[in-house]
Symmetry: C2
Subunit: 201 residues, 2 copies
């Protein structure tokens, strides 16, 4: 990396932390300057606007999630292990957070409704689409392999699994209590078992 | 109501809508003035600060939830019907929203972490405590009546049910698609049946 690329990366790392805790609207330019220890000009050298910085900080935050998810998926080939990796990811996020403010998809979805920040909302939709597609694809493939009970609604499983872990992130954030995530992922493990065929158990 | 009380109530109604869509940080004084059609002085006549107004607007929003929940609970005496009323409440919130921005507990929990707004966060904790206590009390009483399978963890059920509906609210907000809430509450109905004894079915 060149010096400029290094600075850019350092700004993103710090900005991702600030936006994670304070949100897009809650994070002021002063917060960002304090965190990055740069001047306004120093930041604008690399990012055209606060919105531009927020969009790239969102992508950076999602890269952290994707990298960890990839780790948990490594070597997992069967339907059950791949679905469980998704619950393990969110359990690990409360045990060993990558960002102080929790899940960027949750934060962005709640903060950027409708007209308040359409570009950021689109990013959160895309990230959530990726998770839904992962779950739907895993179940569809699992059904073809005979791992999944006939009649299992892959889209419904995706909605339930994502709703449950994101709501548990909210409870974790609200109470600073990991038990909500533990209980919710335990429930999802039982749910996953309920639509798998015996042979994969 | 006196004229003053009427104005106060009208400010709260409008402010609750604004905070619901824009959040505490996202809502500017200009947004509040535009919505209430009042001057700054007109608002400050009734509320000491934006924070004070936000706290009371939160209470007002939760009153709307409580009133509707009470309707759904009316005449429901058995364990199953009372637990299902909680899922019906959230299903109704996407079918017939009381506020444009979704659930105030979700919005506040996500926006007011830690040091950013402790008073508002405490309000959201209290509201969420009320829901948890309702679920725990219903299950504990149900276990005494023989309606609930032995070994059912009431606290775990409360975490799972609240996480699921709040996460479904997030998905509904993100995609503007009610199906996430329908699928999630359908799942919760099946979950509730799974820990009830045959006799209440």
């Amino acid at each position: 990396m060149t010096k400029g690329q290094e600075t850019r990366r350092a700004i993103l790392e710090q900005a991702a932390q600030v936006f994670s805790v304070r949100g897009y609207f809650g994070a002021s330019m002063d917060d960002l300057l304090q965190a990055t220890k740069l001047t306004k000009g120093g930041i604008y050298n690399h990012f055209a606007s606060k919105e531009n910085l927020a969009l790239e900080a969102f992508d950076y935050a999602m890269e952290l999630y994707s990298a960890r998810f990839k780790e948990f998926l490594a070597g997992k080939r069967n339907t059950r292990d791949r679905l469980l990796a998704f619950t393990t990811l969110f359990r690990s996020v409360v045990d060993d957070p990558m960002l102080p403010g929790g899940c960027p998809v949750l934060n962005t979805a709640v903060e950027s409704s409708d007209d308040t920040n359409p570009a950021l909302r689109e990013r959160a939709q895309q990230a959530c689409d990726d998770w839904r597609e992962f779950i739907v694809r895993t179940i569809t493939r699992g059904a073809e392999l005979g791992d999944v009970r006939p009649g299992t609604d892959a889209q419904a499983v995706a909605s339930v699994m994502i709703a449950a872990v994101e709501g548990a992130m909210m409870l974790h954030k609200l109470y600073d209590d990991k038990r909500h995530m533990y209980r919710t992922t335990d429930h999802l493990v039982a749910f996953i078992e309920s639509f798998l065929q015996e042979k994969t158990l």
